[in-house]
Symmetry: C2
Subunit: 479 residues, 2 copies
């Protein structure tokens, strides 16, 4: 792709406050990718495509509009970027484009204790948001594993769900209002209301839009009282199918747990081996310990599991809660360990979802598909609903070297994707699409669905400057 | 508008099974309007605009596609129609257009007791849907007052919410998958999954789309166990502000009631006068009587109300539940009564919503605005959330005669709409937009929001044949 000319970069610099735009090489390299494992592999082997030509870090919605107007006039692609913690490559940026880094837009603008809502700039990180709400006794209840890296804008763009989604829902259930900037630099302000029937909800158009439809700069999110204490229950099972069917009955009994998770044998060993778990599938439930009727609701959840479950006490859940983000906190160490496993090793995850009727086949078929090319396949259920659940697979693929493994990885993904779709599932529950899943959009949405997405993208971004080559525009993008 | 030619109608007839298309004058007249009070007034005074040229009543998604392909080729506007129970004029159809009546597509296609979901054709009426689920012990939990008239497709198109939305959410919370046909006759099939992050959710694009973006022909809806018994509590208050603030605290305590409603003095008298209510605002709560922790949760709700509330027992709620749909059941009688009030009387409703912080001003300001031109203004809160609530106003306007009242009505609406928007509210909570609210779309969504809606509409329906003159296309429509 043609590089952005020096004159054009100078024109951008002229329109923005000093220190808003950088062309410093290390920053550009860092801004070229997110945490998609394949890009990290390419980075490790030194052949990630070249970096973008500039990174703009605006401090306001107006400055974002300035950048996008400049980009529209110049026809320059813009890749919006939150925390850079995405795992599907949605934030990949290359030569000829600039990165729009939202991380300076990280303020809490208003805490409304009456309505229990918070208005923030989209670049605020999850942990900073929760820290700001703490003194008010509030929480957004949105706790993705990436909470110490990811931003509110990224949550919206990737259609994120948090670890307490059983209780607090996913990001769309918290999103009440927003400000966004279109590709043409127009500012969209959608008032914060609990619900509206004034046409199709444009807030929802931006959930899962991956920076390709507009750039979210502010959001108003619903909060709740932060639980003062959590109460944990855990159960063991003879098989994961028995665990899954028990979790279905639990969700359908609606005991209003905040956290509901289930682990197959492999993932249970990973999650609880250190605390002496003897093996076998495990489920944990976390409740707000002081909520009304919690004793009866915990009992109802245990009853719903039935005779196939044996109680394991509170320690499993407490252990998980204490260590739930360790793999992200120790990310660089883990990446190092992966490298230490030797050249040619890649670890990735695939989070799919289906109706309960399809969940057993989804588990069996995706696992079998992965095992055809991968090893160390583990699975847990982390986002359950009365109607179905998400299954989260972790797998390791190995090739002769860091180059050969790429084909093994792509084949494993394609095989797993086919198995998921054949079982009636969706290929993404909360990681978005990015470059990784874009090749499967047509298969999941059908020709008409994919066409509608592309036509909508073209309608809101006629010049195609917002994250081109990604969602709704993926046919001209990089792989 | 130019009438559809006889040759064109003949071409449509030739493509469809016998008895699928009617041009019978009484049917055409009935298909020309929904239950928008202004059209009913015009009907009463004999000057509703002329009827559409034909009504097609397809029996399958394929036949819907046939109709839309014919319409695309001929450039003929198509007005999709569910139960015709809308109250904003979204189903108004005139000369030069045809009506696409979905009422023959009324089958239950699948009841999945494992996932607790039901797949239906979009033309099924709410009462028929619930009757079909009864033997399975299931309910969709979506109970709009129009349930005996309205259809699943209409619920989706108008972004409906039911009377038990506190417990079951609104239609988007039940909608898991759908089949729809685009203006060009392409079939969109979105698999039923509990949630997906595969791009912006196209299911949500059709919620609130009023037949202007695509025609929904099938839907998969989440169900729940139908409560075997409801437990009712009621409370009285010295003022509606105290009631509203109490309901806020109740919703934020999350007692998981199925029904939460509050009535101001005027609406409480209308709702409970017959059972001897002495006057003053009232709130009622309905719980699933056998759900886990219900005793504690009922107590928590009462506690959250605080000292400003006095308990009124269970009879108020039981009375409401028994009579909740009477005004719809006796609709023709009521309309007759309205006529009996004399020429020049119109009764209408306006359902708005805002964050709790804005709810007191929303109530005061919209009520004051209405009272400037209307009489008998009553209000109830019928869809509460932890973050805010919907307020539902009923008002009566009076003019010198059936013609003069139209200006009084339009002025009352415009004044109330300005007051609602100034208070931070949305002009539609669950009745959609139609012809009634379309003039306020730009004011609520802003120029950018309204522009995005129009650009999206043009992208998915480039020929502008789907319900033209309505949502996203309202500038060329009738008033």
């Amino acid at each position: 792709m043609r590089a952005v000319s020096a004159a054009s970069i100078a024109s951008l610099l002229n329109r923005l406050p000093a220190d808003t735009v950088t062309i410093e090489p290390d920053a550009l390299s860092e801004g070229a990718h997110d945490r998609w494992t394949l890009d990290l592999l390419r980075l490790a082997r030194g052949d990630l495509p070249d970096a973008p030509d500039a990174i703009a870090s605006p401090s306001s919605t107006d400055e974002v509009a300035t950048v996008l107007r400049w980009a529209s006039e110049a026809g320059t692609p813009v890749v919006p970027r939150g925390g850079g913690s995405g795992v599907c490559g949605a934030a990949r940026a290359g030569p000829g484009s600039i990165v729009l880094n939202l991380s300076r837009m990280n303020r809490v603008l208003d805490v409304d204790e009456v309505s229990r809502v918070v208005r923030v700039e989209a670049g605020i990180r999850g942990d900073a948001l929760e820290a700001a709400l703490g003194p008010h006794g509030l929480t957004v209840g949105h706790y993705p594993q990436s909470i110490e890296l990811s931003t509110v804008g990224g949550w919206i763009a990737a259609a994120s769900a948090g670890q307490a989604s059983a209780g607090f829902g996913a990001i769309e259930d918290r999103l009440l209002g927003l400000t966004a900037v279109t590709a043409g630099g127009e500012v969209l302000r959608l008032r914060a209301v609990p619900r509206s029937a004034m046409g199709p909800d444009l807030r929802r158009l931006l959930v899962g839009s991956e920076g390709a439809f507009a750039v979210v700069t502010e959001a108003t999110l619903a909060c709740a009282m932060a639980p003062r204490e959590l109460a944990w229950d855990a159960f063991g099972f003879g098989s994961f199918d028995v665990c899954l069917d028990g979790l279905r009955r639990v969700m359908q009994a609606e005991p209003h747990a905040l956290v509901v998770r289930g682990y197959d044998q492999a993932d249970a060993t990973l999650a609880f081996g250190r605390m002496g778990h003897p093996g076998g599938p495990v489920a944990i439930f976390g409740f707000d310990a002081t909520s009304a009727g919690v004793t009866e609701r915990r009992a109802a959840a245990a009853d719903a599991l039935g005779e196939g479950a044996h109680a394991l006490g509170s320690a499993y859940g407490e252990h998980w809660w204490a260590h739930r983000n360790d793999t992200v906190r120790t990310y660089h160490r883990v990446m190092g360990e992966e490298r230490m496993l030797g050249s040619g090793v890649v670890v990735d995850t695939i989070e799919v979802a289906a109706l309960w009727r399809d969940v057993p086949a989804l588990y069996a078929n995706v696992r079998t598909a992965l095992l055809a090319g991968a090893e160390a396949v583990g699975c847990h259920l982390s986002h359950p609903y009365p109607s179905g659940a998400s299954l989260y697979f972790t797998f390791l693929v190995r090739g002769a070297d860091d180059r050969a493994v790429e084909d093994v990885y792509r084949t494993a993904w394609a095989t797993a994707a086919r198995a998921c779709l054949a079982a009636g599932g969706t290929l993404s529950h909360h990681h978005g699409v990015g470059l990784l899943k874009a090749p499967f959009l047509d298969a999941e949405l059908g020709a008409t669905g994919a066409s509608l997405l592309r036509r909508m993208k073209a309608a809101v971004d006629p010049a195609g400057i917002l994250n081109p080559g990604k969602l709704g525009d993926e046919r001209r993008g990089p792989r």
